[in-house]
Amino acid sequence: MAISFEPSEATKQARAHFHSIAREQLRPISRRYDDQEHDLPTEWVDWYWRNGRGQAPQVDGPSDGFVQVCVQTEELCWGDAGLYLRTPFAGLGGSAVLAAGNSEQKQRFLSVFQGDGHPVWGAMAITEPQAGSDSANIQTTAERDGDDWVLNGTKIFCTGGEGASQIEGGFVVVWATIDRSAGRGGIKAFVVPAGTKGMTLVGLENKLGIRASDTATLRFENCRVPTGNLLGSAEVHKKGANKDAKAKGGGKGFKGAMATFDASRPIVAAMAVGVGRAALDCVLETLDREGATPRYDAPPTEQTALERDVIEMEAELQAARLLTWRAAAMMNQGRPNNLEASMAKAKAGLAVTHITQKAVELLGPGGYSKKLLVEKWMRDAKINDIFEGTQQINQLIVARRILDYPSGMLR
């Protein structure tokens, strides 16, 4: 088929469906859970869990696949990105299980998300106090002891980490090294079920935005999980080891984590687009109401600064959205999208940072006040420039790809 920008019928229906959820379920409680940081947004969690986990109506016909997922994510985050992140999802932990787990593990850890029980959460724990975006430098250790792996270390910035570590049925996928001398090759992922002894919720971060989301610090002290909770193989491939062997069995360690990011980046970018659109929509609605709808045919010397700002915001947002959809569409075809996913994430994070900051400015003192949600969206938006790989990390990945440099050539 040819290039097309026409969403499938299923995508259109899903968009409408999630838009109404965003409008009716999320927006009304947005301000409250921004103010009441760390409170569980029970209305949303329960509503979502009870109402088919937000499932969109089934539609026959072709599917946009991952692009549709992006559209859905955009709609929910148009509603509220903080609450979206607090939704009872398997989250990045679930993606890791899907990407690197065997079928028994998928069944064991993920079926609860389709079950009839209470809401559950999954999460992923990678970042450590001294590491930041340097995920190859993981200090948390996993040592084999009989039929168990014993984890020791501290993880920070674990999105969804409270729910995943505290509520029965949930789990945290923890990245730890089983052989520090092996560098990246020694890093493996372990599923730690909620409530496992030795896993402690140390605290939750007070944040600039996405305050409804629980960003946790988790401590692992002699935390034991059975060997069956290791995702992928325990084999360690040292630097310079046979590449074939790496590709076969070892690809589920560090590279597995990275592959999870490739898959998650378009979703994260779509989150960003949703927040940015919320702010832009608010500006456009205000302008319409005030009879100041931007002109696309203004003479160059008569265009207002406001018109130019709005045009730039619209263009930036749409560019971010299309880059996101492109990265998602490549996943539909099973094509590697490491470059395109990083492009989308880098662009979306930056674009919505600008768009939301500009929206606050354009709305004047009102935009700066807490009477509108725009100020909150500006605070929420900034996370997209930071988490799941900062702006700089994504630039780095893009740069390596376009230069065709291995990581050693450009750091």
């Binding site: 290039i3 696309y296 160059p300 971010a320 299309l322 492109r326 230069l403």
Partner: protein, 370 residues
């Protein structure tokens, strides 16, 4: 269904034009700029690819496959070779496409067959005006009804003015008649029309003129679309999509040169591409260029979902795409000059020319159409 992969047919066009740009346009680009001229042979070769002909109605010898998206794909590749050459190659479309979209049956029959031939037929459109604050949507040039036609008065600038082809075609002059802009097919040798060659910082290889129109008389039949007239908004929309595609091509070309230079050039014992300041700049360029292309594709695709007369309904998307491209093409070409350092500033390398060309995009309207 949302899809970003060109079809086999689209891919074939891209590959063909890319090869043409690489083998025929790019090697001449510097010389064309220095000599401020485009070789007739290049235009003839390009015409032989049948890009325009393919888009014109079958009834007048064309292929009947008009597609703004295909036009955008072509424009990016041509401009990757060289912007001035691309504008020259696409210039027959400045008359042919508006006539195809709005021309009366008589106008179409008279003008279109020439553009479907294998010979390059030069053509032109006069929209931009030289006064400060000129508004392309609301020209100051006037068209007044006279007994047997119209009298045109005003001034135009940046009008492509190539010669060559079987017969000189009229220039399509936009003027305001009773408050609404309309196009008038004006013979190049009409009394009262004076063309003075003009020179610019960039696109030097494209011959352009300033036009003065003093009491220029054209017959009633010169009005594009006859009684029905034409829609300038539709043309500007198509012009913006074309410019967006062209600008994307210029930016991509400059980016690639900068990238390759950075991988070759050493400083302080390393390739300069290994410096984050350079590498990240290149990464940003690549991201922005892809964003521009996707915005352009979307606007072009929307045009293809819309009857030509209603093209103006896509003005928003076209404007968004062009506004990004104007910014990005300038930033990328300027950045390429910067990456090349001293070599960016000399006329041995192309980025300085691409910077001059890219800066023009801010002022251009309807220098090409899709």
């Amino acid at each position: 269904m949302i899809n970003f992969e060109p079809s086999d047919e689209q891919q074939l066009v891209i590959s063909t034009v890319r090869q043409f740009a690489e083998q025929e346009i790019r090697p001449l680009a510097r010389a064309c700029d220095e000599q401020a001229a485009l070789p007739a042979a290049l235009l003839a070769q390009a015409q032989a690819l049948g890009l325009l002909s393919n888009a014109l109605p079958e009834a007048h010898g064309g292929g009947g496959e008009r597609s703004a998206l295909l036009g955008a794909l072509v424009a990016e590749e041509l401009a990757w070779g060289d912007l001035a050459s691309a504008l020259g190659i696409l210039s027959p479309g400045l008359l042919a496409l508006p006539v195809a979209d709005f021309g009366s049956p008589e106008q179409q029959a008279a003008l279109l067959p020439g553009f479907s031939s294998d010979h390059f037929t030069s053509a032109s459109l006069a929209l931009l005006e030289p006064h400060f604050g000129a508004d392309p949507f609301r020209p100051r040039t006037t068209a007044k009804r006279t007994g047997d036609g119209y009298q045109l008065d005003g001034a135009k600038c940046l009008v492509p003015w190539q010669t060559g082809g079987d017969a000189p075609t009229p220039v399509l002059v936009f003027a305001v008649e009773d408050g609404a802009p309309q196009g008038f097919l004006t013979p190049r040798d009409a009394p009262g029309l004076r063309a003075t060659p003009s020179a610019h910082m960039g696109i030097q290889a494209l011959p352009t003129v300033d036009l003065e129109l003093e009491g220029v008389h054209v017959p009633e039949s010169a009005r594009l679309g006859d009684a029905a007239g034409s829609d300038l908004r539709a043309l500007i929309t198509r012009g913006r999509v074309a410019l967006a595609a062209l600008g994307t091509g210029v930016a991509r070309a400059a980016f690639e040169i900068a990238r390759d230079y950075a991988k070759e050039r050493e400083a302080f014992g390393k390739k300069i591409a290994q410096k984050q300041a350079i590498a990240f700049k290149l990464a940003d360029m690549a991201i922005e260029i892809d964003g521009c292309r996707l915005l352009t594709w979307e606007a072009a695709w929307r045009l293809d979902q819309t009857p030509p007369a209603q093209s103006g309904s896509v003005l928003r998307e076209a404007t968004l795409a062009l506004s990004q491209v104007r910014r990005v093409a300038l930033e990328v070409t300027d950045g390429a000059v910067q990456v090349l350092g001293g070599h960016g500033y000399i006329r041995e390398y192309l980025p300085e020319m691409q910077l001059r060309n890219a800066r023009g995009l801010a002022s251009f309207e309807c220098l090409a159409l899709v």
